[in-house]
Point group: C2
Chain length 203, copies 2
DNA sequence: CTTGACAAATGAACAGTGTTCATTATCTTT
DNA sequence: AAAGATAATGAACACTGTTCATTTGTCAAG
């Protein structure tokens, strides 16, 4: 009975079609700048069809947010193999920033866009994000355990580093670096990352 | 000839009425969550009337953004009197964060909300923001001149500190701290601020 | 093959949006 | 009081997210 499987596959392909078009449009014009009719037109279907696959516009957003979280996890996953906690931490940070710079639209989806956050916490996306955050915090804890820092306040250390990385990326993503010439921005970001690493070494 | 003055005053009062209502509504439901009809209804005028005072919705936004920049400047202005550059810098940071925490809606307007940034640069708001940023950078420069830091890369130091402060505030403002219990968030932010100050001391 | 049943896609319709503008009402000046 | 200027209106336009009766397409049974 391969029929229902084929149907399921076709449904999945349709979802992909919708998500790909939606992401491309969101990326270009932002969530609010894109209408469902735009998405429908892009995939050459009628507006009503989309509602057969996603119950409303926000669910498309959540689906994309989940995918963004998955991409981010895959981006960060390899650092788990690094044995030394300090090296693991630095590489984690470097990849976090790198992810944000290379996928500003996904980063925006995950950490900046206003979403009904109360509803999100029950979702898979939240679990994924929490897992990553726990891994980060555990890495900091490992550094603390091995006396890499003078301070032993793991939570504050982790949070402080996150603040810097998030600030770095989100100023970039939301175009608040216009006082720096375009071609210097990336270099400045890299320098700043190296600086916070140096600062953390003597923390 | 008090008439045209009174007219001008009335026009100004009308603008105030619109901006106050708009800010209140934006604060509650966000820029996209508020319609011009909502604003019109709130001030008990017809939708068309608003267009006699602001040419479109985004101009209301820009007016509010300018006011936010002014509030922020007034918030930060007093630190100019602090003679010691290091103390001045720390107090500047403290007030910057404080402003963001106390006026999340204004901070959002200034540093997070997606706005047609290309158009903004010619506006008064941009000048105001640039002046503040220059003051910040000059303070860092003063610290560098007096050998408060080992590093002499003023630009990167200033940017790094800004990244942290902005990350701190924007994670708070956009509700990405839900993994920390509500009642601990402010304390964590304060601890993190103190930590970055300590880190900067040995920079 | 044809038929009947089910699923998928449609597009008109509803209530909302930002914005414009001819019309109406109000106030100022003669 | 009449004429002129200014302010306010609300209907209208093209858009939005969303729903749903209707049409179209697919596939198994007779």
């Amino acid at each position: 009975m391969g029929i229902i499987q084929r149907k399921e596959r076709e449904k999945e392909e349709m979802r992909r079609l919708i998500l790909d078009a939606a992401l491309r449009l969101f990326r270009e014009r932002g969530y609010d700048g894109v209408s469902l009719r735009n998405i429908a037109e892009a995939i050459e279907y009628s507006p009503g069809t989309i509602y057969l696959y996603y119950k409303d516009k926000s669910e498309i957003f959540f689906a994309l947010q989940y995918e963004a979280a998955a991409v981010k996890r895959d981006y960060l996953l390899p650092v788990a193999d690094i044995a030394d906690p300090w090296e693991r931490l630095v590489e984690f940070g470097r990849r976090y920033v790198d992810f944000g710079m290379k996928h500003p639209d996904l980063y925006d989806l995950l950490f900046i866009t206003r979403a009904p956050m109360e509803y999100i916490e029950n979702q898979e996306c939240w679990k994924l994000g929490m897992a990553t955050h726990s891994f980060f915090q555990e890495t900091v804890q490992a550094c603390v355990d091995q006396r890499y820092f003078k301070s032993t306040d793991t939570e504050t250390i982790a949070y402080t580093l996150w603040c810097h990385a998030h600030g770095l990326v989100s100023l970039f993503v939301r175009e608040r670096m216009r006082m720096y010439p375009e071609e210097h921005r990336e270099e400045l970001a890299r320098k700043s990352f190296n600086m916070i690493v140096k600062m953390a070494e003597s923390l």
